[in-house]
Subunit: 318 residues, 3 copies
Amino acid sequence: MLRCASVLMCLLHVLHTVLGAAISPKPIIINGTYINPELGKYHARLRTLARSCLEIRDKHGVTQDGMYILSTASGTYYQAFCDMSSAGGGWTLVASVHENNIRGKCTSGDRWSSQQGNDQHRPEGDGSWASTHTFGTAEGSTSDDYKNPGYYDISAQDVSVWHIPNDEQLSNWTSSAVLRYHTESGFLRDTGNLYHLFKKFPVRFGAGRCGSDVGAVSPVVFDTGDKDSTADLYGPSAGGEFESGFVTFRVFDSDRAAMAMCSGVRPTQCSPQHYCIGGGGYFPTSDQCGDFTALDRSHTHTGASRRLTESAVLLFYR
Amino acid sequence: MLRCASVLMCLLHVLHTVLGAAISPKPIIINGTYINPELGKYHARLRTLARSCLEIRDKHGVTQDGMYILSTASGTYYQAFCDMSSAGGGWTLVASVHENNIRGKCTSGDRWSSQQGNDQHRPEGDGSWASTHTFGTAEGSTSDDYKNPGYYDISAQDVSVWHIPNDEQLSNWTSSAVLRYHTESGFLRDTGNLYHLFKKFPVRFGAGRCGSDVGAVSPVVFDTGDKDSTADLYGPSAGGEFESGFVTFRVFDSDRAAMAMCSGVRPTQCSPQHYCIGGGGYFPTSDQCGDFTALDRSHTHTGASRRLTESAVLLFYR
Amino acid sequence: MLRCASVLMCLLHVLHTVLGAAISPKPIIINGTYINPELGKYHARLRTLARSCLEIRDKHGVTQDGMYILSTASGTYYQAFCDMSSAGGGWTLVASVHENNIRGKCTSGDRWSSQQGNDQHRPEGDGSWASTHTFGTAEGSTSDDYKNPGYYDISAQDVSVWHIPNDEQLSNWTSSAVLRYHTESGFLRDTGNLYHLFKKFPVRFGAGRCGSDVGAVSPVVFDTGDKDSTADLYGPSAGGEFESGFVTFRVFDSDRAAMAMCSGVRPTQCSPQHYCIGGGGYFPTSDQCGDFTALDRSHTHTGASRRLTESAVLLFYR
């Protein structure tokens, strides 16, 4: 006999029973009735519906890495990967930059620069850094470009960045990472996230000059690798052109070509095309146009290592 | 103590309590248990699951603009934006035509004409107007082409069309609109929706002739702008080639090239490439191939204004 | 008055009542309250949440074809079409190969070979056969390439293959099929699914030789058509180059170009480009590069019939 003090208490009894059973890992048979454990897992994930992984950690006490369901301010629902382990957790994967063809210069698949060729009439290229256009999936983010609604919707203070070998499956990401780091400076507090940062500091050819017009820079704390191993990932000659231990957003080269992100470093010279990625749609030196700009250079001298150029760059917010 | 007259009454008590609490805007603590308000909003949206925004308005009495969950006849679930305000509401956003590169002629991103170049062997181009192929998201529909399952699934009588500046966020659409209008003629009643209309009247080079083979035309009621402001959006010379205050679907130019939609106007001459959009995959004058055909023309004489060419065209059904 | 022997029994009463009402086809009014039938259908579909259509059949006893909700091991939710009718049912649609431009050779839309042109520096092409990159939708799978998370996530033993005319709507697939067959050999048992099979046997130029390096071959049981009608679908000359009544995965031609799948047949000669589809990104004979390789050849002699080249190839797992 179920007796409850009130409708609300009765409801809570029922909900606790449902959800308690639901997150159990094995099938449950109650009086001959099968309770679907997959549905239980779904309800457990849905129960923590929030605007970000940080909210899921803070409001719902979740500490397990994995896929969760999030909502934008406008009420668009989407699935995202939450890193609940690194540096306290609460990190939402919002994007990845994947180079599908290092020899293709602003061709199909170069969504973070331009898929329309090098073109001086399109100085912002495809504009993905500052748009609400989304693409890809979390589970496919090491095999293709990825951008979810969290990129423009979540209010964040810091970023975490993972370099994961191309085509690596989600369950192996942490163990196979080439480089992982995060910021603790709260450098995104002013703008709120990268979408707004790049609205303010456009990734557009000619919008600024090398040195004087950097969008944002922050020191980083390494989770996999360190300053030296990061420098080694870029080419032997490139080492003298940057300082390791930072992440930098929106820079220009000496030709006024714009790049979106220098992962793990901050430029001290004016040839960021050898270690910065993403970009506008026009590079006066046309073979630099592309998601991974001129990181390849046949993997010699100024070129980055294959470990770096054959890894996707995953972006998290917190 | 919860006592109910029957299982059904008890269930209704419980559901009312859950859903009543769920749509409350602030967190709810009951006997120390936190009820997630985001989950509540989700349940409120899910509760009105239907085939179209019109059904949500009519059957569930919803009057708030926003994202809702819809289902196709086959049971595919998707999220769509509902305009519940304009002219009585009940409008489902099903598609947007976004020009990512006005200088690119049937290149990548020209999903509403052809992404394979101007090609006489592909007279229908990519065929998006009459296929079940979908792409994009509602929140990204001013930054990229958009087409959801509602485009082919919903039974509609009328359309509403919004011209919204590129990259504008959903919350600003109405206030920033360049042009908005809707039909009240029920011109879609015969075919059911644009998917079926374009099956009957293909957007295919050579399938008809200027003047005699128009797919459909309807007068419109303006919600933002009027006949004159609409004519002004197209170039000064184009004004003599159409009558403002209509929307037209599937027309041909004098070369027998096909275009899908003339927004706000109906052609009276045979050069619709200056004010009609979408198209087949072949234009004898090759620089007209593209989602926005020849609307640019350097923004002079026959060219449309930048306000028009730099806005996405959002299509709603009711 | 609701009285239950325990919380669990009470819960089951409530759930049975909710779900029982939910799957009813017509609106239900209980004491003046409207219960949404679309929401009921959604709950009925959600109730069978599982890793594959086979699980839905086996664990939940479902026998109706249609769209269902599935989950990957990592907890990504997606919608898939289940064929619950053919040969006992339990088949999950995981992919389709759609040729959007038979004349385009490794151009935009050739996701199962390469969208970057014929390129000896990209011997695996876009790599879709062995990646977690997904695209398209079930309802759009006859109008565009399709690949869902089930392709890499589901543990399968057999495949079913349907050739469905381009742009055919889901409700007509079975009746309009050009060719349908399935395997019963359990040939996928070793690798688990095609994703893992192609990891082991890469679709890469130069990775093997004609004849000696076939990835997998299995006899098939025909559901629509037979050995002769299958042979007829390929060109009159091609008939002498294969044996009908099989499905083959990963083959090479005499130039060492790689192809992913020979549908309905197994090669006995070394010109599989006339009847095998999908491929790496490099073909020494460049006009063979593309999702449908050289199946067209102007539809003469070695060319396949238009019925075949204008149909999408749908891939199911069980």
